[in-house]
Homo-oligomer: 379 residues x 2
């Protein structure tokens, strides 16, 4: 059998859903998971339990694979260079990944490319933060550790020089950014393959709660067509210039005066693309696999006018399965995607997708289901 | 975690695709597979390799599960009764399954219910076959072993008493049926849950080649609306009267004079329902799982005007992966479903689904892709 072996580092829900998408392709999916109970490890067949920080573990894992890809962006750059040096395809490669791993480098590169970003610079200490604030509109400003942040972690909105002390305690370089007066957040997601083919998904609206993605609406309602095109072209250009292979999520701010600024980059399947599992002709997971395998990419177009995704976060009710009765009976069209993760408050344990022609109805269905699964809605 | 454990007996592609559908539900899928290389065993996490003919093996497997279901219908009835006696839910149960396993019993029961069938009776020997023929329109007649047939095996069309000798060599009771002058074959598939809820999928046209399913068109083109309703009600009634839980495929003949007659029953996900993976709001696999778990059933409605499935059978070219480049490039909307089975001539190794608004185009896309994957089309 000549079907390739795709190795994914990281056993979270992104890997779980990538394995799901790989099954119909007939490929072999191999997983390097932190523990045997990780979301993806519970459903995949070829599972290696090990620490990706250990180069020996990573190397042994990669040697059995035709290509290596990622459920997260924490694999040390030097390890990935070592794998590449052995001739193992790493996609996306370390040269691209570094821009998802280090926000300081990302900002510098995007600025070099003339890609619109919030006003920003690296800052040395709280006094420097105040100088940065005074270079613009003053406090509040946004401070981010250049490495290690996700789902709102490693990001602070500070209103005073005193508050600005905390980010520096992490011992990592700190990036200051203006607090953008945005009307909403968008995501322009694309997939790019090694030979340069790329597809762009519809630009979506992404609603955050406490720094964590909550609701995604596809496509972004009322988004100016020209601005949508600008956002998609920006994402395609970033993917091309940075040499990204696979899925690239470009999180954007839509400003009050009708422009888009890049907020963050992620070089893997992303929360803002989960809607594609039921709402697009080809899911982000399927297209990510095709891209890392250098296969022709699948149609990214939406299958119906509106698709909504709402995250299911852990609440106070650990028994989510019992909520299925209500949710499935109430909405036979609901698409539930649970991750088989232990329920902890605020933890991403699943998401629901709904689709249809009437946005208020599609939104209500998804919000109700997610709230009921979480336990915040009880009837 | 209170998510249930579903045990499926049989590791073929139906189990593989059921595991795929179970991943987003967060349930635990446990497999009893003949070998470690079976289609489903290659992608599932909880795999037990063992012989389902052995009651001890089956019992040990079932004890770890909340419900048992099937990828095939070969598990001996007495074993299933033993499991039920231990309080393990078996769905569908042996009382229903026997009508999928034994064609003679199936014909008798359907006749009892007044469900239209081809003229038929059990026959004792070739001379009896001739008497059966003479009771009607004469030869040719169809002979079937009452047990063990599938994909055209165990079915003969005989034109003379001499030819009628072969089926009796199997040592199983033989059923004779009139050779129906049908205009086409249809399938009316339904799913039924333990508390009696049921959904009916659109009636599809099923085209066979050499006794094996080749192409399925959903919905059946030009099918009279009233006849479609009759077929769906017939299938729902059969499911209800026979106590089927899970997916029931009712294969039908559409006669020249506009009636439907039941051909075969299958109580599991079925080839005639693979189109639902991409063409319906809820796939047959997802709904089969919901039914055996006694969860509310999902919307069975089609998502677009036409969906076509074409089987990919093994041809002379073992390297199907290399065909992906052409097929995916030619048709970015193509949905490929491969089973990771070794390629042998005529063996079901995958299928492709296409969907759209223009049936000739949708058909051409699916046929081209399946032919190219098989190696019968080379450009």
């Amino acid at each position: 059998m000549t079907f390739p072996v795709v190795g994914m580092v990281g056993g979270g829900q992104l890997a779980r859903m990538t394995h799901e998408a790989g099954i119909p392709l007939g490929i072999t999916f191999k997983l390097l998971s932190d523990t045997p109970q990780d979301s993806a490890a519970l459903v995949a067949h070829e599972v290696v339990v090990g620490d990706y920080h250990d180069l020996g573990t990573l190397r042994d894992f990669a040697r059995g694979c035709d290509v290596i890809t990622f459920d997260h962006e924490h694999v040390p750059t030097e390890h990935l260079r070592a794998l590449e040096a052995e001739g193992i395809p790493v996609r996306p490669g370390p040269a691209a990944l570094v821009y998802a791993q280090d926000k300081g480098l990302m900002r510098a590169r995007l600025s070099e490319l003339g890609v619109p970003c919030p006003r920003h610079r690296l800052v040395a200490d709280p006094a420097d933060v105040t100088r940065f604030a005074e270079e613009g509109e003053g406090y509040p400003v946004v401070l981010k550790t250049t490495r290690g942040g996700y789902d709102g972690k490693g990001v602070w909105v500070v209103g005073t020089e005193k508050e600005a002390a905390e980010p520096f305690r992490a011992g990592v370089r700190v990036l200051a950014e203006e607090k953008v007066d945005y009307v909403r957040e968008l995501a322009a997601n694309v997939v790019r393959s090694p030979h340069g083919q790329a597809v762009a998904y519809p630009v979506v609206e992404s609603q955050q709660v406490d720094g964590v993605c909550d609701t995604v609406i596809a496509p972004a309602p009322g988004l100016d067509e020209e601005l949508s095109g600008i956002a998609q072209e920006m994402a395609l250009r970033i993917a091309n210039e940075l040499g990204v292979i696979g899925h690239l999520a470009v999180e954007l701010f839509e400003t009050r005066d009708g422009r888009v600024l890049v907020n963050e980059l992620a070089m893997r399947p992303h929360n803002s693309g989960h809607w594609t599992q039921d709402g697009a002709a080809t899911s982000q997971f399927a297209n990510h696999l095709r891209a890392v395998l250098d296969l022709p990419l699948g149609d990214p177009r939406p299958r119906q006018p509106w698709t909504v995704m709402v995250n299911v976060l852990g609440g106070d009710f650990p028994d989510m399965y019992s909520a299925y009765l209500h949710c499935m009976a109430r909405d036979p069209g609901l698409k539930i995607h649970m991750y088989a993760k232990g329920v902890k408050p605020g933890r991403k344990v699943g998401h629901v997708n709904t689709y249809g022609e009437d946005l208020p109805e599609v939104l209500e269905r998804a919000r109700h289901a997610a709230g009921y699964l979480r336990g915040t809605i009880t009837e």
